[in-house]
Symmetry: C2
Subunit: 357 residues, 2 copies
DNA sequence: TTGACTTCCGAAACCGATTTTGTAAACTAA
DNA sequence: TTAGTTTACAAAATCGGTTTCGGAAGTCAA
């Protein structure tokens, strides 16, 4: 009644009905050359025996896994990237409806990331990849294109014409961000950016610069710092910017994690965030609503992005030309309480800070 | 030189060397009945052709997937559970070294959770499961034991004798928590718990109650509330407790998410957390260090728990008796700044709150 | 009645590995 | 020298599906 390994096989079903196993397979795959009677009997037996086809066996013959892969880079001992967590959550939820599964792997260096992709391809564990946090020149993309292996990127690169991607309009968003800050009355605006090889970090920095230019404000290199995308990075970035002779009254941060760290430092130094110092983040993480004061941020809904990208990848796997699946989304400013008109001039700010050192 | 589907198969290697494919397989699986010369030639060819065995084909024959599964429950539109994110991160990191992969799936109801486990077993996509957030009577455990399918639980149930689990000593931890609060001078201590069907929520509640009893404080049912394990739940729980005629001066929360929400409400009501009101969480989430004030919490390192549990599961899959793999860990109190001696009596607190309603 | 078409399904090949079985050649022992 | 063992590998079976091929039975037109 059951296969030697305990579970019901197609052979069991076929024997139970008295047909060839090929016939069972054809019924299950909706072939039309099966009489209604036979179909009924087979379907009944499938239900009765609780038969599910083995995806392993099916994959072997069809060459498809019905599994998508994601390789998440991990650094040192630090915790999970909250943005990626939301993103993965969104992918998994979408896949549930699409009858696919998600394989999550980690890798601790750029080299290891590449090797992991290679291993998953060679071992045929996945049909395609979702890439996150694309770099300006992304070796993963070169590799996967060379292999002609399906993938969709979350984020673009310096030349995004030939592959499928979903991205937010980072530059426009940060131009708006600066405009918003200038509208509030800020003239000295600091920027806490991310590693320069990350594409979105560059685009947001460009947006910051162009926004300043639009407002007729002269760029000042010392107002731009670059940090790892963690709370600690935010602390350090804010520390540097506030140590300037004339510190900025507003801090535009490239992610929420950075912004939360920056907020922390500001409070530690006795500044009222949203008054003495304005801080704006980017990601729209749920936790941002629960820090003090609640973080004003650009929201891109990591979760729905995950779902959207999963669907794009399935299209690409099924043969859609990747170059036709490219989508630019907008990020919305979610105003909470960490921004406001500057309560102090940069000079007053500097004086207040000197007292607390 | 390469199989019809693009990748190198064992047949390609065999032909290249001029041996039977079974011989190649034996070399790769370290059989001893192969001459040194042949072994060398085959190994060289494997390297030259860049051959990796197809895990699909291998699985079919061996009946093993080298993949572990986790089904994460998701509710409504809410974001990812930050504890689970850390936990999954830990699992994935550990598996990287163990040459296994992790399949992450979501399910949106208890019924769906069960069905998903069933599907993954029947389709033979995983070798075992990791269960999280065990319930007092957990249907997943009944189901998997009935199926004789390997799993390890993070958390116990009302009868944890017969399966493998890793858990923290929830009750002892919360007894310590109460002791700590009493030591600070608190006499009126509120408890924000989680859904009563979650085992850890019950154990922590029992710890809370026993801790009070040890301190000779009479239990008061109105000081215990039950909420969903989200920031919103924390907000609502704190709202209820602070609305009491004589509100508690300390809030013991069953998770960090709840504690962060509770902190939020307290600040909104004008209370100084760590002075007027003490709040303690549980999970040791990284973000806890970045809220204001930094959250005092019991830390259980979700990440290392994930790694440990992955290793346990592999042992169970390989035949270890599950009942012999049970591990009780301790949680450490990480003192940050959300706790302290009560600056106000409950009466003063109530008065202060009346002003801000 | 016969040849041409459908309809429906059994039989067998196939996917790419692992494992079992069998055997020629070399080696050992008597 | 001969029988018995090893050694080292080829050949074939197998895992559980999907897909191709082909043929029996029934239908239809001439």
């Amino acid at each position: 009644m059951a296969g030697s390994r305990g579970s019901v096989t197609i052979e069991d079903v076929a024997r139970h009905v008295g047909v060839a196993k090929g016939t069972v397979s054809r019924v299950l795959n909706n072939y039309t050359d099966i009489s209604a009677g036979t179909r009924e009997r087979i379907l009944a037996a499938v239900k009765e025996l609780g038969y599910y086809p083995s995806s392993t066996a099916r994959s072997l013959k069809r060459g498809r896994q019905d599994t998508l892969g994601i390789v998440v880079p991990v650094g040192g001992g630090r915790g999970a990237d909250p943005f990626l967590s939301e993103f993965i959550d969104g992918i998994a939820r979408a896949l549930d409806e699409l009858d696919r599964d998600l394989l999550v792997t980690t890798a601790n260096s750029a080299q290891h990331v590449l090797e992991t992709h290679e291993r998953l391809i060679a071992r045929r564990k996945v049909d395609g990849f979702i890439l996150t946090r694309t770099e300006v020149n992304d070796p993963r993309i070169d590799f996967l294109q060379l292999r002609r292996f399906p993938f969709v990127a979350h984020g673009r690169t310096s030349d995004p014409r030939s592959f499928a991607w979903l991205d937010v309009d980072n530059e426009a968003t940060f131009i708006n961000g600066v405009e918003h800050l200038v509208g509030l009355g800020h003239q000295r605006i600091g920027f806490i950016g991310g590693p320069g090889d990350l594409n979105f970090a560059c685009q947001r920095r460009d947006g910051y610069r162009n926004g300043l230019q639009n407002a007729g404000i002269i760029l000042e290199p010392s107002l731009e710092v670059e940090q790892a995308l963690t709370e600690e990075g935010g602390v350090e970035g804010a520390r540097q910017l506030l140590a300037l002779e004339t510190p900025p009254t507003a801090l535009l941060c490239v992610t929420d994690a950075l912004a939360i760290g920056a907020m922390r430092l500001c409070r530690d130094r006795g500044l009222r965030v949203g008054e003495d110092v304005t801080i704006i983040g980017y990601d729209g993480l749920p936790v941002g609503a629960y820090v003090e004061p609640p973080l004003t941020t650009f929201s891109q809904s990591a979760q729905s992005a995950g779902g959207k990208i999963a669907r794009m990848l399935i299209d690409v796997i099924e043969g859609t030309d990747p170059a036709t699946r490219q989508e630019l989304a907008q990020a919305d400013l979610v105003r909470r309480s960490s921004d406001g008109p500057p309560a102090k001039t940069p000079q007053e700010l500097a004086k207040a800070l000197r007292k607390t050192v």
